[in-house]
Symmetry: C2
Subunit: 190 residues, 2 copies
């Protein structure tokens, strides 16, 4: 996706340890018009699929997922990263290790929003080691529902999450795949 | 806002201690089409105001704020509730006490996204005691910028945040004001 790649090149910052900082338009400040363009592209790539609900993880997944939900007129469910006071007894959890933060967190979803037999499209900002995606896959499967696709704005192609998800037969779509961040230079996969 | 009030009556749950649970369309599962309607109403209520940027707090503020940013073609900045690994040295913080969770959290904003002289519209899901709003007001003011309005989807009229913000001369707009949640019954202010 050309607009996105240009935005990453112009505003992204490759910092040491294989991190890509895109706080300027995605992870802290959001370019809402770009989110709509991104959502349109996801809708195009998953056209023809039956989708019942969009699922994401707070916080950076919410903006693109909400735009996809708006375009498809579908509800958007976001997993929480801190224990909600009011979720009640039907709470599903998954432990997720974040390489970026070098620590684990728990993901919480109210099981009553995951319906057996329904088809879910997962939308998130980044795919790196795929741990958040695996957590979501586990929760959705546990509820007897199905993941019909996983769409990411940016995939770090030099990490193994994308390969692992695709090897499981999941329809993964990443709008920009980073081949390398070596020496502070952002190189896309062609 | 009629659609919103109906949604609250049909899907909201008044639970003990003055809490209103709207996980079905706002705080866990998001009704994206409703978020767009809400954003249009905010845009209408603040029409004629000069606004340079939308500001909100993760996570539930992100969906409505992004829709407002989309409609006005403005960037959306969201304050974080956990310390970001990659924010750098220019980090502004505010301590916020949450009555809902009965604990404090720290709000983080990268100061380089708050520009002196700029005008900010704050959008959030709930106004109760107004502590998050005060935190944002402090950070924006500290950066030499200005809050031109604060728009909330739901205001708990029986708590004091709304009065305190309006007494400071802030243009507060709440799309649904709850008069009372006594005995599990949701009563709106007319």
């Amino acid at each position: 996706m050309k607009t996105l790649k240009e935005k990453i090149l112009n505003n992204g910052e490759s910092i040491n340890g294989g991190l890509l900082k895109v706080d300027n338009f995605l992870n802290h400040q959001i370019d809402a018009s770009l989110m709509m363009e991104i959502a349109k592209e996801f809708v195009r790539r998953y056209s023809g699929k039956q989708i019942d609900k969009i699922i994401t993880v707070e916080a950076s997944g919410i903006a693109p997922a909400t735009m996809v939900g708006y375009l498809l007129d579908l509800p958007v469910l976001f997993a929480k990263k801190s224990k909600p006071g009011t979720m009640g007894s039907n709470m599903l959890t998954a432990e997720v290790f974040s390489f970026t933060k070098n620590s684990s967190y728990t993901m919480y979803i109210n099981g009553s929003y995951l319906n057996s037999g329904e088809k879910y499209l997962f939308i998130d900002d980044f795919l790196a080691n795929g741990k958040a995606a695996e957590g979501i896959l586990g929760l959705v499967t546990q509820a007897g529902a199905e993941i019909v696709g996983m769409g990411f704005i940016i995939e770090k192609g030099f990490q193994n999450g994308g390969k692992e998800l695709r090897d499981k037969g999941i329809h993964v779509e990443s709008l920009a795949i980073i081949e390398s961040l070596d020496n502070g230079k952002i190189v896309f996969r062609e």
